[in-house]
């Protein structure tokens, strides 16, 4: 099934696009998809998402259809959902 992934701020810059579609197997989790995204953009985006470990960096936020989902709580994706990967920004 196809899932749309949207990027914001520095994640968008690293991915080189604001949004793209991924083909995933039924039963895949959000966490599987984010790992797939990181591997697809292994040079620029992976170091932002997974700088040290197998776990997503805690400052990166995930949303599925406008609801925040924590990395440590696996979520099975459903068709037509939109995933947003957000990197924090600040003032100035």
């Amino acid at each position: 099934m196809k899932i749309k992934v949207e990027y914001t701020a520095q994640v968008k810059k690293a991915a080189g696009t604001g949004a793209e579609e991924y083909e995933i197997s039924p039963g895949s989790t959000l966490q599987d998809l984010v790992r797939q995204v990181a591997e697809t953009h292994s040079t620029a985006l992976k170091p932002l998402l997974f700088p040290d470990t197998e776990a997503l960096h805690p400052s990166i936020l995930l949303f599925v259809s406008n609801e925040q989902v924590l990395w440590e709580e696996p979520l099975t994706l459903e068709p037509h959902q939109v995933v947003t990967i957000l990197s924090p920004i600040s003032g100035g």
């Binding site: 701020a9 700088p51 924090p88 003032g91 100035g92």
Partner: protein, 249 residues
């Protein structure tokens, strides 16, 4: 501020158009007059937040910002002017705010908020607007927001994008729930237009007005994200972390 000051005839005349706003009225205007707000850094975001709150008739602003006006401030820091280059930013900000609203009480602090001064700065106000560029400064503000139970409006920008939310102690999570760790990739200097900081600054000022007056619905438990490059706006529900080191039970 001691006691509750009613509106004067002059204030009724100045704020007439917003007093007409349903559910705000003269009672809402009186709440603003008797309210105080801390704005940490009056740069691209904070300048606009401060200017809008001054225009709206807030009673007192505490503005904290170190350093002198630089040429690179002038594309977005609307309280800074050419003739003030090389001179303290808070002086320029105070001067411009007083031109707009001579009734406004201003405490101008020529230093940035830190763990050292956060408690004292937050103690002076009813609400905080975080316009700071660095996460340690934002975390210090957030801790005092939680400890002193003061609402915190959070605004941020990058390129043509912006984010905005409002934390209300006891009703929402806090900045440390949203970002438990300092983002390693974040840099103090980044690409942005003044029209982007101005847009989110106006929205942050409106959040402050709503929290203080009880008007409308705030962004409590919601993160507004928008991108002016393609004019997309999204409201996302955000979570409170039960294990949060700052606000968790």
């Amino acid at each position: 501020m001691s006691g509750f000051a009613p509106l004067t005839d002059e204030e009724r005349a100045v704020y007439e158009w917003q007093i007409w706003v349903p559910e705000f009225g003269e009672a809402g205007q009186e709440k603003l007059k008797n309210a105080s707000v801390l704005i940490s850094r009056c740069g691209g975001l904070g300048s606009v937040v401060a200017y809008e709150l001054a225009a709206a008739g807030i009673g007192k602003l505490v503005i904290a910002h170190a350093g002198n006006v630089k040429p690179s401030d002038l594309n977005r820091q609307l309280l800074m002017t050419h003739d003030w280059l090389g001179k303290p930013r808070v002086e320029s900000a105070e001067r411009r705010l007083k031109e707009l609203n001579p009734r406004l009480e201003i405490v101008a602090v020529p230093e940035n908020l830190s763990e050292v001064n956060a408690e004292q700065l937050v103690k002076q106000v009813d609400l905080i607007v975080d316009c700071a560029p660095l996460f340690p400064e934002r975390y210090a503000m957030n801790r005092q927001s939680v400890l002193q139970k003061k609402p915190l409006v959070e605004c941020a920008m990058y390129d043509l994008e912006a984010q905005l939310t409002t934390f209300i102690p006891g009703q929402t999570g806090c900045l440390a729930c949203l970002y438990p760790h300092d983002p390693p990739a974040w840099k103090r200097e980044f690409p942005v237009f003044g029209a982007v900081s101005g847009t989110v600054g106006c929205m942050a000022a409106m959040e402050a007005i709503k929290v203080l007056s009880g008007l409308g619905e705030t962004l409590a438990n919601q993160l507004l994200m928008f991108d002016l490059r393609d004019m997309t706006f999204q409201r996302n529900r955000i979570l409170r972390r039960k294990d949060c080191a700052v606000c968790g039970a």
